[in-house]
């Protein structure tokens, strides 16, 4: 079952889809990168470094770009964040490193940290070099990592660097989780996620793909491994709970995004409605525009000031041509086998702040595709039986080590933080990798 060949080479390719999703933030040309690198002030204990969940030493890697030490620059990034390439493209830098840049207070543009990071990582990949790390001396310990997303990948890398065997189990045909299947292609192409994972494989991380871990399988794993890392992410997207949801033409944002990224979806129909107003909803709406839809609406029951999407994502969606229907809620879907209309109720706020439909002000929209993006459920069911302590569906962990209420079980990523960014998952995984290794060492000492 363990895969040794390149995932990158197995990446599905669709020229048509690729053409629709050119880089949102194009790579730096060398002179531009060096010029931008020189602009960095080289802050001490830099705010960008603290703002980064993985604490990349940003000024250090930037100054290495300026000095022409690209190898050292990439190593500086990877030392803190093994998925530095993905994060350089996928991170919402406006609210992280670049948002914290002191240049904001200097009446200047913040340093383009994300693009500089990508520049250093692209250079490493272009050189064909392996990761600048070697596996640690073999400890004889084995850890199973459930779910192949960024949390598990980062955890596995830390374990390998500490001489612990790391085996990742993932239900999908390709590893990487949402890093591979869930990020807008104009930010992080699917194949780029896989390129990065191939480097981890060289570090000795083993992958069991197409392997669904259910409660029974987990019991098997529990017996065979010295520790288990849960990087299982979140569950399915919530349903609306209204009639007609089973009709053809009703999908959810994660399936839609994974569908076009893997080439299964090549075009969107003319009229698309996305329900929800988070970052994933916006990714889906923008994708629909790029895949050829002529009219894309986003429907949200509150106003723009309450939407959970980042401001820059909202602005981007407007530029792409997405239209917004605020203060509206779906009432019903019409169609025989295939959905063709969506009925919406206009909402108004009552005195206590709750939203109620305005009587007689319903709107009907003609639709060819409805994409639901109203939040994800948790995997609580899979962990039933009090294996680990949960809170509101999230696995409770010690923040510094990722350890759960069950000593042998560690966790990180969306299943613990409720659904954040790739970089948060990487930071969780990294802390857990270090935590697991330290715990295993302690176990050894006790023995």
């Amino acid at each position: 079952m363990s895969e040794s060949t390149s995932f990158f080479e197995k990446a599905p390719r669709s020229a048509q889809v690729e053409a629709c999703f050119p880089d949102l933030h194009p790579p730096f040309e060398t002179t531009a990168a060096v010029t931008e690198a020189h602009r960095c002030l080289y802050c001490f204990d830099a705010p960008c470094m603290t703002a980064c969940p993985t604490h990349i030493d940003v000024p250090k890697f930037i100054k290495k770009i300026a000095s022409g030490n690209l190898e050292g620059s990439a190593k500086t990034i990877l030392d803190a964040n093994i998925l530095g390439a993905s994060c350089s493209r996928a991170c919402p830098v406006d609210v992280l490193c670049e948002g914290a840049c002191v240049m904001h207070r200097y009446n200047k543009q913040p340093i383009e940290i994300g693009r500089l990071q990508r520049f250093a990582m692209d250079a490493l990949h272009a050189s064909g070099a392996q990761l600048p790390f070697v596996p640690g001396n073999d400890t004889g310990k084995k850890v199973a990592l459930i779910g192949g997303g960024p949390a598990s990948l980062a955890c596995a890398a830390e374990l390998r660097r500490r001489g612990v065997d790391a085996e990742i189990f993932d239900a999908r045909p390709l590893p990487g989780g949402l890093n591979t299947y869930g990020i807008a292609e104009y930010k992080l192409p699917l194949k780029e996620s896989l390129r990065e994972i191939d480097l981890l494989a060289q570090l000795g991380v083993k992958f069991h793909v197409n392997t669904m871990v259910d409660a029974k399988k987990l019991e098997e794993i529990d017996k065979k491994y010295d520790a288990v890392f849960l990087g299982i992410g979140l569950g399915a997207i919530h349903k609306l709970g209204i009639a007609g949801e089973e009709l053809t033409g009703v999908t959810n944002a994660l399936d839609f995004i994974a569908g076009y990224k893997s080439g299964a979806i090549q075009v969107a129909p003319p009229k698309v409605v996305v329900i929800g107003a988070g970052n994933t909803a916006i990714d889906a709406a923008n994708a629909a525009v790029r895949l050829g839809a002529s009219e894309v609406h986003m429907v949200y029951r509150r106003g723009p000031e309450q939407m959970s999407a980042f401001t820059f994502e909202y602005e981007h969606a407007k530029q792409e041509g997405v239209k917004f229907l605020w203060h509206m809620a779906p009432l019903g879907l019409a169609g025989k086998t295939k959905v063709h209309a969506l009925e919406l109720a206009k909402l108004e706020a009552t005195e206590d702040g709750s939203l109620v439909p305005k009587q007689g002000e319903n709107v009907t929209l003609a639709v060819d595709l409805i994409v639901l993006a109203i939040g994800q459920a948790t995997h609580a069911g899979f962990l039933s039986g009090d294996k680990v302590k949960l809170e509101r569906g999230r696995i409770v962990v010690d923040r510094a080590t990722g350890q759960t209420s069950a000593a042998k079980y560690f966790a990180g990523g969306d299943c613990t933080n409720g659904g954040r960014e790739v970089v948060d998952a990487v930071a969780d995984g990294k802390r857990a990798g270090i935590g697991i290794s330290a715990w295993l060492e302690g176990q050894n000492g006790d023995a």
Binding site: H38, D45, P53, P92, L96, R105, S308
Partner: protein, 488 residues
């Protein structure tokens, strides 16, 4: 009405901006274009028996993304026949009679040869002569250029030969490649020189190609030391100009040279006594057009300062340059960080800890501002290193590494890390421990924000006293006797 018109060693100049003897003054066609652009004068590329140059000839060093901070050449004097250069001097003077044309000369060290060259240059119409005793490469190996300038006796001898013949002002161009530039300057003055120009280029190797291990500029895999110039050399040039101009037995009308690229640079040379300035590298970098701002900017500054002519301010800074022993030991400044301007880069903190006196701390948010100022002067009240046991830079970094950061989510994290970037968090604004601050300036030099760190005067309650005065009144001798420290 302020004016840039000035007279230099008897030569009337419409402005003090001359092009130095170098590639920008290689031929008449160039010099006429330079005059059209606004240059008041030009020192012709050194005339002498034509030479053969190498290829390539120039190299430079860039700094932090800026090109040509320092520039280097291994080019020799003019490679054109003397009669062509002289004919073109005549043409230029005919068409631009009010502009200054100086003939730079370098010939073998024979009296008759110099006499002949001086005669020919003056017959061509040159307004003055500059004797190139400074070229540090190639020509010096043939007994000319800096080989003359480095030996005061040679300098004096040749200058006197020239003065025997010359009817126009004679300017001696000095080399900086000597331990005391005043010696050749005095020699030139003894021989009757009318003026000096300084500095010529500095011996240099600008760099090595790390792929081929060959130095630059590359001539068939090899190189030779060249002459260094450009912005990097200005401080060296200013010091040498000051040394000469403060020495009564050396001082003459001075044409200042070395890293001048704008009106501010020019003003500094004039304040140290130069009467004109010569420019080369900046014109090679950006073209003759740079002179427009030099004139415009200098005039605007003169109007602001109330100076009508160059002579109104020429040399005014000379008295302010003293020997160290004449500086006031009882003057004290301390750094003050203005929190309202601080952007939180903490470059002052790391600079003070690693490069100065460990007196800047990151404790504003933890009571640091409440610490009383004792008013002690760390120059006399020597304490143990880090007397208040403040965190070292490594300890600060270790604390930061422990912080668990998360991407802020609009609705969940009101105080996300990236959300308050308009205001500097108090804990990122450093504080100066005045009682430990020696007033070295370093923090204010590294701070990227204008006026954010200022050096504030503190009254020591003592009258001004220099080291020389201390010695004179015997106080130093007593201290030496008590402590055994000969430097007190």
């Amino acid at each position: 009405m302020a004016t840039l018109e000035t007279t230099f060693a008897g030569i009337k100049c419409m402005n003090p901006f001359w092009l130095a003897s170098a590639p920008p003054t290689n031929c008449g066609e160039q010099i006429m274009r330079a005059f059209d652009a606004g240059w008041g004068g030009a020192v012709w590329k050194t005339i002498g028996a034509p030479i053969t140059n190498v290829s390539s000839r120039y190299s430079s060093i860039d700094w932090n993304g800026q090109k040509m901070m320092g520039f280097n050449n291994i080019e020799l004097i003019s490679d054109r026949p003397t009669e062509v250069n002289l004919q073109e001097i005549a043409d230029v003077k005919r068409r631009y009679p009010k502009h200054v044309v100086i003939a730079s000369l370098m010939v073998e060290s024979k009296r008759e040869t110099w006499h002949e060259m001086v005669q020919r240059a003056e017959d061509a119409g040159a307004d003055g002569l500059e004797l190139n005793f400074g070229c540090p490469h190639g020509m010096s190996e043939r007994g000319m250029g800096s080989a003359v300038g480095q030996v005061p006796e040679y300098c004096e001898q040749i200058t006197s030969w020239v003065k025997e013949k010359a009817r126009t002002p004679v300017i001696v161009k000095l080399t900086p490649n000597i331990s005391d530039i005043r010696l050749p300057a005095r020699a030139a003055k003894r021989a009757g020189a009318d003026a000096l120009s300084a500095i010529n280029t500095i011996n240099s190797i600008t760099g090595i190609d790390l792929d081929t291990l060959e130095p630059r500029p590359n001539v068939d895999g090899k190189s030779s030391h060249g002459g260094y110039c450009g912005p990097a050399v200005k401080p060296i040039a200013l010091n040498m100009v000051q040394q000469v101009m403060s020495d009564p037995s050396a001082a003459l009308p001075m044409s200042g040279i070395g890293g001048i690229g704008n009106w501010q640079d020019a003003a500094e040379f004039l304040l140290l006594g130069a009467g004109t300035v010569q420019v080369c590298t900046a014109a090679m970098h950006y073209g003759y057009r740079i002179v427009e701002d030099m004139g415009d900017g200098l005039l605007a500054w003169m109007r602001r300062k109330g100076y009508r002519t160059i002579d109104d301010f020429r040399g005014l800074s000379l008295p302010n340059v003293r020997e160290w022993k004449n500086l006031n030991l009882n003057f004290r400044v301390v750094a003050e960080i203005h929190a309202d301007k601080c952007i939180g880069c903490q470059l002052c903190y790391t600079a003070c800890w690693d490069g100065a006196h460990q007196c800047i701390h990151l404790d504003r948010a933890s009571g640091g501002m409440d610490a009383p100022v004792a008013g002690t002067d760390p120059r006399y009240a020597h304490g143990a290193p880090n007397p208040h046991s403040k965190p070292t830079p490594a300890m600060v970094m270790a604390e930061s590494a422990k912080v668990i950061s998360m991407t802020p989510i609009a609705k969940l994290d009101i105080d996300g890390i990236g959300s308050s970037s308009a205001v500097t968090p108090l804990e990122r604004i450093p504080r100066v421990d005045e009682d430990e601050c020696v007033g070295c300036n370093l923090c204010s030099l590294v701070c990227p924000v204008p006026e954010c760190i200022t050096m504030e005067r503190r009254d020591t309650g003592l009258p001004p006293e220099t080291w020389e005065q201390r010695v004179a009144k015997g106080a130093a001798a007593e201290a030496v006797a008590v402590t055994g420290n000969p430097n007190l």
